[in-house]
């Protein structure tokens, strides 16, 4: 059985979403484990990231670089930052593997910036790990519904 209590998964996903929406870069980065993988495929959901282009394919060290860049205040594609809010829904646990729970959820995200309002949506897969009293994120894959189309700049945390 899942080492996570009922409701814990949703609470974690909502918190992760809020930290990203509110550009709480340190808070968001602190969610990740050392073996983290943050992946946004391009061209479809199952394209091999080791041989094909991805929108984002970050290991832990690249997540750190990405966050550090955002925190300079001169990451112009997020300075000024986008205003955004996302809804998370249709949460399902798809696997329990030792201390890890793999969950999936749909999201709808509305992004507003001077360019205009952009609607982003997709399904994300999360690998959540119980670490002492806390839950950490070991893996997040975000499959955009329009991953095969031309995308606008997406420099915020998705």
């Amino acid at each position: 059985m899942s080492s996570l209590e009922p409701g814990e998964i949703e609470r974690f996903l909502y918190r992760e979403a809020r930290l990203a929406d509110e550009h709480d870069y340190d808070g968001w980065e602190a969610l990740w484990t050392d073996d983290a993988l943050y992946w946004v495929p391009a061209g479809g959901p199952d394209v091999d990231p080791e041989s094909q282009m991805s929108v984002i394919y970050d290991n832990r060290s690249r997540i750190r670089t990405r966050i550090s860049q955002l925190k300079t205040g001169k990451r112009y594609s997020q300075s000024p930052p986008s205003n955004m809010r996302r809804l998370i829904s249709n949460v399902e646990v798809v696997a329990v593997e030792g201390t890890d729970t793999v969950a999936e959820a749909n999201f709808v995200l509305v992004e507003s910036r001077e360019r205009g309002t952009t609607l982003w949506s997709g399904r994300a897969t999360y690998r959540l790990r119980r670490v002492e009293d806390d839950i950490r994120l070991a893996y997040k894959k975000v499959v955009l519904v329009n991953s095969a189309e031309a995308l606008s700049t997406l420099a915020f945390l998705i």
Binding site: A42, V47, S51, M53, I56, Y57, S77, L151, S152, T153
Partner: protein, 416 residues
Amino acid sequence: MTVQYSELIQPERVHGSLYTDPSIFAEELERIWYRTWVCVGHVSEVARPGDYVRKNVAAQDVIMTRSADGEVGLLLNRCAHRGNLVCEDRRGNSSSFRCPYHGWTYRNTGELLGYPYNQGYGGKNKLELGLGRVPRVDIYQGFVFASFAAEGPTLKEHLGAAAGELDRLARLSPEGEVELTAGWLRHRAKANWKLLVENETDGYHPQFVHGSVFSVTGSPIGALYSDKSTAVTRDLGGGHSENDLRPEFRRAARPMGWFGTSEARVPDYVAKMRALHGEQAEEILIEGAPHVMVFPNLFIAEISVFTIQPTAVDETVQNVTAVQLKGAPEMNRRLLSQCVGSVGPAGMLLADDSEMYERNQRGMAARRPEWLDIRRGVGRERIDENGFRIGAANDETGMRGFWAHYRGLMEEGAAQ
């Protein structure tokens, strides 16, 4: 009223309407995009007979195919019956295309193979119809180019000195071939295509636009474009331009330094290159890959290949993929990883370039001062040993070369 391009394009400034006027955009499609040589893709994307992939030349939906006898061709994606798309999948393998509307079928070289209920046409093989073909297709170092003009300069003539830069990229492969097999990111920007082209070899912006990532990674790239840099901006003629960083790489004299790594990290690759090139290997490994903008839409930034596709006067899609070198798996993993980190909608470099294109486009809605200035470095240009105009690393020499060629094409087009 006809546009007087010689008034809008002057040696040291260009008029803002060139980026915002829809009628100028319409003329550009005819006089540049459907006339000169435009890069569509690479032969490695259709490696096997029957392979096909959908591409674009501006608004033209084009299918790049590989026929049974190995020829690469470009078909227009429009049924000869009533104009439906004949190919909906982005890529695949098939010897024929079947239009879903009324079932006409075509060979992947464009000939009409058949149509259902043929008595309505008096029997089989009665129609002299087929898919449209791009009139001229030619290939250089595997890059596939299209020209919608039946006549005009050859691809070799169009590429001119830029051909040498494609050679320089290909020779980084131990087998002498580039492969573009990593798929394309497609990045949409609300900006006129020329803002992207001009930015590609603008050495003035990196320190500012990319300072955020240079500072957190300790990247030496910014310094290559500083006021102290010995790198040059070169007008290669034909609208092509490059940032030639070799003077800086030669000064550092570190094999693989151009790629931000050392030979110890990629020992198999370096060994293969030395075995192949002997003494010349040092020069190749030190000088690395080009940073070149090939008019009007192919941009190679060392490890990444971009094609630019204008979709409206104020909207452009920039396609990008990682350079992959045939016979160099050790390099290819690193090339892909660095490229993914840098380019596309979330790239640590290109997301910020694209933000600048978009702000640039919005800025030009203001009515004054009307002009964009391109005079930087005019007073310190030189002619190099091969007769090309060069400026300092952060001068606007490349832009001036672009505009001279653009103006020629737009004026000739009007005269036709």
